[in-house]
Symmetry: C2
Subunit: 516 residues, 2 copies
């Protein structure tokens, strides 16, 4: 790792010019860097070139060059005195529709120096991609959306640098991973055609851009690597995920799933990669059930139900009184209700087994999770039959997508040796619960690997691997995108998956064992 | 030629995207261009990228791409409708210390569309390189000098485009050839170290720069190719000269000489190139003799003296009454005076043979060329012994430089099969006269080839040859710069050359024949 990392930072001790060696300042430096980097392609910006003669003399030709690798050349993005040991840093950005996360990385060591996040300020214009694309078509809309995210990033960078005691001028490289729409809005590209048939982004592989050209207040020569996309519905955040999982390097076939509004799935190995995306239903995100919310203090993330006593053991984040439930909590709940026999294989509450927890509200069956006295919201926390139905549709959609993509290349789900689960979904769900409801296939539980924020991790990795852009392009080019065809066959599979855990119980032998 | 030229302009008829081929707009275009250009390296600027989706749709994906070749990649600098047949143009610039000359070129055909020139407005600050470099060190001096030349170019471009009925936005490429100092001032690079030992330019090979970044009012994405230099005293104008002469392509060894304040000399062939520069004395430029001036109406450019009658046949430019004499006229005069026996081998007036034309002014011998009644200035036009002495020093310096550079590689001057003479000097001098006074070696007169403005020609060629930048770099890298060592040996050669045509008359057999 270290050997590679050092390539971004090159200490060059030049012989000062003399009458027998009157090579120009820039060419002298470039020539030394070419030797270090074993390349014949290094470009220096005019802005830096203008300062070079004075800087080289000030530092007696003993300098540290900060370089960045473009697709077909290296770029010199800054120089400091050779003796300067203030860190030259890079900024990794996970550019989410809802939330943006930043990580400041020391380019020399690859170490994370600080991390922070903020809610995407474009939310003020519209909560989702569709609303923002529509807004971008209004007069000045694109500029406003672009300004919102750039300003948000600038504020976050200021704070992050202040925390880490880093000068924003010492940020020499950025790597940004986001979905195709967020990437377009960040680059000021019109996203209009992303949502119109045949769904064409302005660009798949964005060029390396100067930070100053994007209005980012870091070193103006810092280069911004923006992750490429495969299409309108398979963005750079997922490429970053594949990159950070390293599944593209391994001989064995692995599967990566990232669940948000869409379920995005990648299947493959070092030889091939196939990807698809489909609506997994919104049940897994906050906002679906009336009390659904994203993880945070007081949010129920784990539930156990004693199959004998049917007592609920409810855990809320930060040990706060419960005030809602998040996706992983919901999955746990459904799994536990099913394993305890409180819902049937269709997900319907079984009144005989729910006992006093079941009540009718406005003609719809509700199960009380937390009484008003114990909740953090002042009211009862309940889950309705409709909520459970919605979850079951989501889990069925997810399983159907997994089946479809594996079948498309003749791989059986049971053959998978690694199953990466990205994002907060991956970080919080209990794979056993997801298997119990038939959302994920019945694989040995150690097969499931949470990836965490793989988009951010991929971006950070791009900053510490000198050949990253080429590697990322290669990953992107190797992906075959499978258009999910919602045909009869798909619908049949979906219908079969709408049971707990599945119509074909033989697919889930473990669940049968857990129930008894 | 045509096959090569077409490469800058690529007509690409793309299949519009559909559900089965959802490649993004930019990538669709780039992919087609890659096929046309047989390259895997094409970059598109963000500014152009932002406009692409709308433009491609407006033109139904039938477009003409204008590309430019950087060192390690191609760049897309503009697109138009495929059916658009307005010329995509380039601008070649000879960036002289005194005069700047522009040529507008059709990038598709390579044809010149218009040409113009203007006096370098930096002259207001200082007439020569030294004065301007000193001025650049004052507060705001560099910015002022840079602004003067950029503004001058912008005014000239506006006029030139208006004459040629071209929109300046249709200028997609520029090639600029100038000496090292002019190049620095044009790029806004500090020229401070050029004149200070060990004479180090800021850069030898300037990067390709966007026109907008230099403040040039042409297409903002137009790229500016600035010719590289070999050092502080061997600039891009000379590299452009070598490039346009094609001497670097031939098997036979040729010599190229460019005379201004300095005599700059290149010797070589397809295998090697050696260059040097030395003060050739100012006698060959305007301003030396009291009546010396650069070529223009009324300036004597040719003189013949009847050896029998010693009648003067004087030709002034544009058939105007004579008011001064230029370098080529002076050389003609000295040659004719010598061949007619009116000056001796030391260049001294022979009173017995000058007759009534010789007169004493302030104790110094003067020869009357034109009487007051026939001159365009109202006074007599005369040339003094001091003027002739000065010319002889200049011609001796020139010949010594030619001898020194050829001797340094063991080539005899008499072996040269081609002798290129660049600039106005080359355009106006009569080689027979230059040989007669021993300024140029006694080669068959057809060996001498005037190159005209080879700096401009080289710049124009760079715009019409797609691989020009690489070719120009190769030329630059192949040049060995010979530092002229003014040692005893050089001084001995110089002393021997201070006679007409030379101490060693055997070197000039033709001159002996011409005198009889």
């Amino acid at each position: 790792m270290n050997e590679k990392n050092t390539s971004w930072i090159q200490t060059v001790l030049l012989s000062p010019p003399n009458l027998d060696d009157n090579t120009a300042d820039a060419d002298r430096l470039v020539s030394a860097l070419k030797t270090c980097l074993e390349t014949d392609a290094i470009d220096v910006d005019m802005d830096l070139l203008r300062k070079l003669p004075a800087l080289l003399r000030k530092w007696s030709y003993q300098v540290r060059g900060i370089v960045f690798r473009d697709r077909h050349r290296w770029l010199l993005t800054g120089i400091t005195a050779a003796a300067d040991n203030s860190p030259a840093t890079g900024l990794a950005v996970d550019l989410g529709t809802t939330r943006v996360v930043l990580r400041l990385v020391d380019l020399a060591s690859g170490c994370a120096l600080a991390e922070s996040g903020f809610d995407n300020p474009q939310d003020a214009v519209g909560p989702d991609i569709l609303a923002r694309i529509h807004y971008s078509q209004e007069n000045g809309g694109l500029e406003k959306l672009n300004g919102l995210i750039v300003d948000g990033l600038n504020r976050a960078v200021t704070d992050l640098c202040s925390t880490a005691k880093i000068d924003p001028q010492d940020i020499y490289a950025l790597a940004v991973a986001g979905n195709t729409t967020m990437t377009h809005l960040f680059l000021g590209l019109d996203p209009r055609w992303i949502i119109r048939e045949p769904y064409i982004p302005a660009v798949n592989k964005p060029p390396l851009v100067k930070a100053a050209a994007l209005g980012l207040r870091v070193n103006p020569l810092a280069r911004v690597l923006v992750f490429p996309n495969v299409g309108s519905y398979f963005g750079g955040d997922l490429i970053a995920g594949i990159f950070s999982s390293e599944m593209y390097k391994h001989e064995e076939t692995a599967l990566l799933v990232d669940v948000g509004t869409n379920a995005e799935v990648v299947l493959g190995n070092r030889n091939w990669l196939i990807a698809c995306a489909g609506a997994a239903g919104p049940a897994l995100e906050g906002g679906v059930t009336r009390m659904g919310m994203t993880a945070g203090p007081g949010v129920i993330d784990r539930i156990a139900i004693d199959p004998q006593t049917r007592d609920f053991d409810i855990h809320a984040i930060a040990e706060q009184p419960p005030r809602g439930i998040c996706g992983s909590g919901l999955i746990d709940l459904a799994a536990q209700l099913y394993l305890a026999g409180m819902i049937d294989i269709r997900g319907k509450f079984r009144p005989s087994d729910c006992g006093g927890r079941l009540k009718d509200i406005d003609g719809l069956a509700h199960l009380v999770l937390v009484s008003a006295g114990q909740s953090g919201s002042g009211g009862e926390l309940t889950i309705s039959q409709a909520d459970v139905d919605s979850l079951i549709r989501s889990k069925a959609a997810m399983f159907t997508i997994l089946e479809t993509i594996t079948l498309s290349v003749g791989v059986n789900l049971s053959e998978l040796k690694r199953f990466y689960v990205a994002g907060t979904f991956g970080a919080f769900i209990d794979p056993r619960s997801a298997v119990a409801i038939g959302m994920l296939p019945d694989l040995p539980l150690e097969t499931y690997k949470p990836l965490g924020n793989s988009s951010l991790a991929g971006a950070a990795l791009a900053l510490t691997m000198p050949d990253s852009l080429a590697e990322i392009d290669r990953i992107r080019d190797r992906i075959t995108y499978l258009e999910l065809n919602v045909n009869q066959e798909f619908m049949n599979r979906f219908s079969a998956a709408k049971f707990l855990p599945h119509t074909n119980q033989a697919l889930f032998p473990s669940v049968k064992a857990w129930r008894t």
